[in-house]
Symmetry: C2
Subunit: 318 residues, 2 copies
C-alpha cells in the first residue's frame, strides 16, 4: 500500500511516497512560490511534485490509496479549505477541490501541520500504539496536535487545538495572536532566543555572552550549550525556559490526561537536557498524581526530518 504525503511549508513544499510501515520510498521538494498569486502557483507546483514522485517511484496514480497534505494555519479539514494561513499567505482556498482537478480519482485529505505531525508520531513514531497524546512543537511558534481515542481534536471548522495560545502569564509577554502571556510567547524557540538575549544584556561577562559573540548570533541552542559548559547565566535561562514549557505541558496534561506528551520542533533536539526536567516537573505538578491519577509520560518526538511527510501521509490514512 502506498500513500503520498505533502508537507507545505513557508520555504518549501516537500513530498514523499510512503508505504504502510512509514518507509519513504522516494521524496522530493520544490521551493514555496512567493509570487503575487501564491495559492494558484503552490497548487500547480504541488500537482507537478506529485507527478514527479509517481514517476520517480515508478508508480501509477491508481497504485496510491490517498494523498495527504499538512499545511500551517487554520485548515478546515472537513470542507477541504485553507481557512487562513499566515505562513503561506492563503485565505479561504479550496485546495482539495483544486487538486481534485488533477487527481480526481484519489482521496485527498488535508490538515494542520501540527495535527498531521501528531498523527504521524502515533502511526510511525514515538507514540506508536498510544491513542491519547498531546504533541507540542517548540519551534518558531508553539504548535499542538491532540489525539483523543485515536482521533484528532479539531474543534469547530478545525479551528481548535491551538494549545500555543493559552495564557500562562496573564498580562505577560506580547503574543502574535494579539493576546498577552500565551504559552507560545514563553516556550517557542523565538521566545527562548529573546530570553537568552535579555540574559546576555544583563550578564555581558558570562560564558553565555561569549558563546553568542563567537557564534555571531543567538539561537535556540545557545543557552543550552552554555549551561552544559557550566555557565550559571545559561543554566538560569534554561531552567526558567523549562519551567515555562512545563507549565504549558501540565496545563494540557490536566485537561487531556494523555498517556504521553510528545515534544517536537527544533528545541526538542536538546534531548534529555530538556525532556528529563520536564518529566520531573510534570510528575510533581500534574493534578492528583498523589491521589491515584495516572502519570503522564514526556517523550521526545522521533520523526525528525521526515515528520512533515509522514504526518501528511498519516492524514490520508484517516
Amino acid at each position: 500500500m502506498y500513500i503520498i504525503g505533502i508537507d507545505i511549508g513557508g520555504m518549501s513544499v516537500k513530498g514523499g511516497i510512503v508505504d504502510e510501515n512509514g518507509v519513504i520510498i522516494c521524496k522530493s521538494s520544490v521551493p514555496t512560490a512567493q509570487g503575487d498569486n501564491p495559492a494558484a502557483e503552490i497548487i500547480a507546483d504541488t500537482a507537478k511534485l506529485i507527478d514527479r514522485l509517481l514517476f520517480e517511484g515508478n508508480l501509477r496514480l491508481s497504485d496510491v490509496e490517498g494523498i495527504g497534505l499538512g499545511i500551517p494555519g487554520t485548515i478546515d479539514s472537513k470542507r477541504g479549505i485553507i481557512t487562513y494561513s499566515n505562513n503561506i499567505k492563503m485565505i479561504n482556498i479550496p485546495i482539495v477541490a483544486e487538486l481534485k482537478k488533477y487527481f480526481g480519482s484519489t482521496p485527498i485529505s488535508i490538515g494542520n501541520d501540527a495535527n498531521a505531525a501528531a498523527l504521524g508520531e502515533v502511526r510511525f513514531g514515538s507514540a506508536k500504539g498510544n491513542s491519547n497524546i498531546v504533541f507540542i512543537t517548540l519551534g518558531t511558534g508553539v504548535g499542538t496536535g491532540i489525539i483523543i481515542e485515536g482521533k484528532l481534536l479539531e474543534g469547530a471548522a478545525s479551528a481548535g487545538a491551538e494549545g500555543g495560545h493559552i495564557v500562562i502569564c496573564m498580562d505577560g509577554a506580547d503574543c502574535s495572536c494579539g493576546r498577552r502571556g500565551c504559552f507560545e510567547a514563553y516556550a517557542s524557540a523565538t521566545a527562548l532566543m529573546k530570553q537568552t538575549k535579555a540574559a546576555i544584556e544583563k550578564n555581558p561577562d558570562s560564558l553565555l555572552a561569549k558563546i553568542a559573540a563567537e557564534d555571531g548570533k543567538v539561537c535556540g541552542r545557545t543557552a543550552f550549550i552554555a549551561a552544559k559548559k557550566g555557565d550559571k547565566t545559561g543554566a538560569e535561562v534554561v531552567e526558567k525556559y523549562i519551567r515555562y514549557v512545563g507549565e504549558g505541558i501540565v496545563n494540557l496534561a490536566n485537561i487531556f490526561r494523555p498517556e504521553v506528551v510528545l515534544i517536537g520542533g527544533g528545541i526538542s533536539n536538546e534531548g534529555d537536557a530538556l525532556i528529563l526536567p520536564l518529566q520531573k516537573f510534570t510528575d510533581e505538578s500534574c493534578f492528583g498524581i498523589k491521589n491515584g491519577n495516572p502519570r503522564v509520560l514526556v517523550k521526545k518526538a522521533s520523526l525528525t526530518n521526515d515528520a512533515g511527510i509522514l504526518g501528511a501521509a498519516s492524514l490520508a490514512l484517516g
Copy 2:
C-alpha cells in the same frame, strides 16, 4: 422511558426519576453520611434512596433503563470506581460493583459531577442540539465538563477535563491542587470572595464595604450588588474577576473551539452582568476570529436546581 439520576454531593445525596424529555417525575434526598466509614454508608443510603424513588414513582426496577451517578472528584467511569473524592472522603471505591449487589439487572453508570452536568445541558438544557461544548462551573472550585462530537472528554482513567487547574498566572495565587496561579484560584466563587475582601480592606469607605458590613459577610454576589449600585470599588472587583474568567474561557475555547461555552455554578446566577462582558472578551480575544475562525458563544447554563439529577441521569443515557 425512565432513568434514575443520583447526585452525590458533600452535603446530600439527591436522586430523581427522569423521563426521556428531562422531566423529573419524582425526587428525594438524604444527608451525606459523615461517619467513620462514609463509603459503605453512602452506598447503603443511595440504595435506599433508589428504592424510595421507585416506590414514590410507582415504578418497578424493571421499568428503569439505567441508573446514573454524578460524583465529585476523580471518577473512573470505565471501571466504575471512585478513584479519589476529597469532598466525600472516598479513595478507590468500586461503587458500581457495590450498587450492582442491589440493582444487578439495571445498567449503572458513574461520572464526575461536572462532566455529568455538561452532558445534562447538552441533553436537556442550554446546549441542547450542540455536540461540542465546554461547561464551566464557577462555584466553590472551578469544574469543567467537555464534550467533543457528543462524547465526554475524560482522559486516561477519567482523570482529565480538569480545566480549573490550568495556570493562567504563573507563580500567582495558591491553588488547592498544589500549583500556583490556576484558573480556579482566580475564577471560583471562593476566589471572588477573597478578591472582594481584599478590595474592602483597601477601600473601607466604599459602598462595597458597607454592603458587606450590613450583610455581616462577603459572598460571591457582594461585589456584583455593589457594582450594580454604581460603586467604583465593586465595579473594579467585578471587572477584574470577569477578566480572570474570560482568560480561562478563551484558553479553553482556543483548545477546543466549541460551539458554546456554558457557565454554571453559583456565580452564573449573575446572568447578563456576567455573560455579556464574557462574550465581548471572548469575541475580542479568541484565536483567529478576525481571520475566519468561528465565533464561540458564551451562555448561562439553564439546569439550575436540578442540574445534578439531570446530569447524572444523562450519564445513564450514554
